[in-house]
Subunit: 522 residues, 2 copies
């Protein structure tokens, strides 16, 4: 059977826009005489529609769009994902609609709902009960939503379509290929897995729709982080030449993902220009380089905001960075504003010693200046905090923690260094001094990050076990880390849930990012 | 049967603290010769533990605490809620443990999990399958978790225990009484409903544990927003004298709830002192009055931060408020800081006209001064934004939208006026001029809220239908509101999801507050 796999960038909530894209793909597939076309889970409304699914008018619009799409399917059958409300009893399923001869003729409901991390499917859907293969052109097509539903595959199935969207992580591609290979071999079936290719502010879906043949071999791989369109012949899946390997390098994947995430966020929101503070440090340098790659260097404005505690190299390094990137920048010193704050506060602060209050004032003045530029000229403020800082609360709310999108909020500091080297692979973009100098917030004389935090290599290793692997403190200590440091770090993580409740959404690249997928009381 | 109902303020995550409270209640009940004692759903770990439930060490600690509690039950049986992990298969239930003769002898699992609004139970728990009555002293005790599980009540049951915690809303008390009355009559059973009495930063549980007899009559009502302890005799529930009515006045309930919410938040976090900006307007006035009631006037610091756009009455009204309350205040003019910002930005702003950038600078200077005082002296910054503003994005991120707790973030502006009148019932606390003048942000000359927003009475009516009743735009228009205004407001609500993602948690008093219970893409 000739099957078209369009891999599209669906926009969440934009049912009409998605419908137009879907119809264009159907017309293209019909022109190529494909017999079946596959669209993934919730294609009609886009990934992660969340509480839009609680709006009856939204569900109705999805249904009308599906019917409009069906009318286009005169010479092709289609499988397409969407919410499916039974108006008689108010029960809603997460369904695959099967369209044939211009109408919806059948469907399969998702049986095993996802309620982990960023998913809350039981909030909206009722689980289906059972799964019947679709009969089309004398073939039994088994539709499943993810690997957990593989139990429904039967001997009599001719091939398997997996509708499920797979959120990107730096491990997800490798895992997905391995899982589908193992399933295809176990059940002896060809599997066609169609994915979204889109960003969703925080969550990315990386495309890489794929077919794996019954021997477990990857036989077709669609583009990574890009739209694509392929027609495959199910009769030839056993003998196709091997496809290029999936990219598995973590740093390269992080780079691609963040650039895609930034670009998608700006495109979906209709924004074109970004702004960020350039401190001369590695975090803002990496964010600037990634954003320039995503939006064009001319669309990224850097703000250099030296204070009386800034070292000479911080300005020089930031200027060198901007010059290397070819991005515009402005210098706005904060000395006078800072002095004016101290002046205004003197009657109440009196002779209290310098402490975090004065440090935060500097960070907040910078945040305010970035926001003032954003408000005046329409730049979108990017947040440059990394995951290590967010974890332990090393950052100032309403200061360096402001912004619309956290570009590297799911990247540990040690991985930021790898990313910087990767960015510099062909030529120096991030100045060498920015990479090699000791990290500092420069909010008091001679301050260094390591004055208040353990070495980043140790910090990140412990954080990863605690946050991503969900290890208990005892289990982390068993891995060879000092007890006092483990407890210090975990206490910092838990004490800063309140702070993370007010930071910008970040682009998720790990299996546990801060944000909606991690819910703790505070 | 003599049954003790302790109504306790459990602290989420503090298993040892909760255990101590529970054991004290058991000892008190045993001294009074009660035969059974009831603790609600998840009592051992506190309400809404969220992803703490994904930590094995947390679940183990809960289990050990339950076993420690069981040892105390030498002369009494106990029903107590907690997570219940079957280590052999990793399945976790939300359970009621039944304790007798010093050990856990039985249990009932929650069958119908809650996955709406603030609840994500399918994230953690597997639904039980079936519900068997507990047999104790020749009686069949039916344990249910909420009214949805009433279907399990059987004719042979002697009485019903409802474990479920009921989140407070201004409607929840009335609803709860009506629901239990109807169920008690329908099934002809006495119902004993035990509730938490605690805050959880955003979500409140208001106590009012109750018994309703088989005739549907409320026969026992525990304290509202306070700990309590009652012993009831199930044989006498039919003939008990009627109890005082449940408070149903929405404004009075809002008042009590917010004061309790503030006090509980401060106590649980170990904070004692609050700070907020006093603008002379009604929102900050109401928050100041409520906070003074919760913490003592001497523990609430007001900051008056006049700008060149402040009217004379704004300072006079704020001072009158502080004097009426008896709270300390400081005046820190922001004129010079503002001028210094404009000065620093002049080279980049050049001749751009005054716009929202300059307005936001003022709001952010104020936010920063409040935060500076917080950082210097340990005051906790309170947010004074109301629900109407939060809905339409009428507020400045990192400015007036900063703070640790949104005291009135779930209260519409029109209800703030009612609250102000209620606060002034016995004597003028909030100055009359604050209540009667037209609301203004005072960020440009002559500015009034109604320059950019519809009248609050109309705005709030539309918002309530859209946010809380989940009406479609068409349905709202059908209620008689102008189409252009309805669409304008709904567009504002939807366009500001991004902004609300970074505002402080607010105390929830309605069935749909902004925060974790409302999830939209942005």
């Amino acid at each position: 059977m000739q099957i078209a796999i369009p891999q599209l960038n669906y926009k969440t909530g934009d049912i009409q826009g998605n419908c137009t894209k879907i119809i264009a793909a159907i017309q293209k597939a019909q022109q190529s005489h494909a017999e079946l076309i596959l669209f993934p889970e919730l294609a009609i409304c886009g990934a992660m529609p969340q509480d839009l699914l609680e709006k009856e008018e939204f569900i109705n619009e999805c249904r009308l769009a599906i019917e409009k799409i069906a009318l286009q399917c005169t010479h092709i059958a289609a499988i397409i994902g969407g919410p499916n409300l039974d108006a008689t009893n108010g029960i809603m399923y997460n369904s695959a609609y099967f369209i044939q001869n211009g109408e919806v003729v059948d469907g399969v409901h998702k049986n095993i709902l996802s309620d982990y991390d960023i998913f809350h499917e039981s909030r909206y859907f009722i689980a289906g009960e059972g799964n019947t293969a679709i009969r089309y052109k004398n073939q039994n097509i088994r539709i499943i939503f993810d690997e957990y539903e593989a139990e429904f595959i039967e001997k009599t199935d001719h091939f398997v379509v997996c509708m499920g969207m797979t959120p990107f992580t730096t491990e997800s591609k490798k895992t997905k290929k391995q899982v589908f290979s193992a399933l295809a071999q176990k059940y002896g079936k060809n599997i066609l897995a169609v994915n979204h290719c889109c960003g969703n502010t925080s969550v990315l879906f990386d495309g890489n729709s794929m077919t794996v043949n019954f021997k477990g071999k990857l036989t077709c791989l669609l583009a990574e982080f890009a739209e694509d369109f392929q027609i495959i012949d199910t009769n030839k899946l056993g003998s196709l030449p091997p496809v290029p390997n999936i990219c598995e390098d973590k740093t390269a994947l992080t780079h691609k993902a963040l650039v895609f995430g930034i670009r998608d966020y700006f495109e979906k929101h209709g924004f074109t220009k970004a702004i960020l503070g350039l401190s001369g440090g590695i975090d803002s340098a990496v964010v600037a380089a990634l954003t320039a790659e995503a939006l064009g260097a001319e669309n990224v404005m850097g703000l250099l905001m030296p204070s009386r505690f800034s070292t000479d190299h911080s300005i020089a390094d930031a200027q060198a960075l901007a010059d290397n990137i070819g991005m515009p920048y402005k210098i706005i010193p904060i000395k006078e504003i800072y002095a004016q704050y101290l002046n205004a506060l003197r009657p109440v602060f009196q002779n209290e010693p310098f402490n975090v209050a004065e440090e935060n004032i500097q960070a907040r003045i910078r945040g305010m200046l970035v926001m003032a530029m954003s408000n005046k000229f329409g730049y979108i403020a990017l947040n440059t905090s990394n995951k290590s800082e967010a974890a332990v609360g090393y950052g100032t709310l309403y200061g360096d923690l402001c912004g619309s999108l956290g570009v590297i909020g799911d990247v540990y500091k040690t991985d930021i260094y790898k990313l910087a080297r990767h960015i510099n692979k062909e030529r120096e973009i991030i100045p060498e001094n920015t990479i090699t100098k000791a990290p500092s917030a420069e909010l008091r004389p001679g301050q260094k990050d390591q004055d208040s935090l353990p070495e980043y290599s140790q910090l990140d290793a412990i954080l990863k076990l605690y946050l991503e692997e969900n290890y208990s403190p005892d289990n982390i200590i068993t891995q060879g880390f000092p007890k006092d440091i483990v407890y210090k770090i975990i206490n910092l993580v838990n004490r800063n849930n309140y702070k993370r409740a007010q930071i910008p959404p970040c682009i998720k690249i790990s299996k546990k990012a801060f944000g909606n997928g991690r819910k703790y009381p505070y």
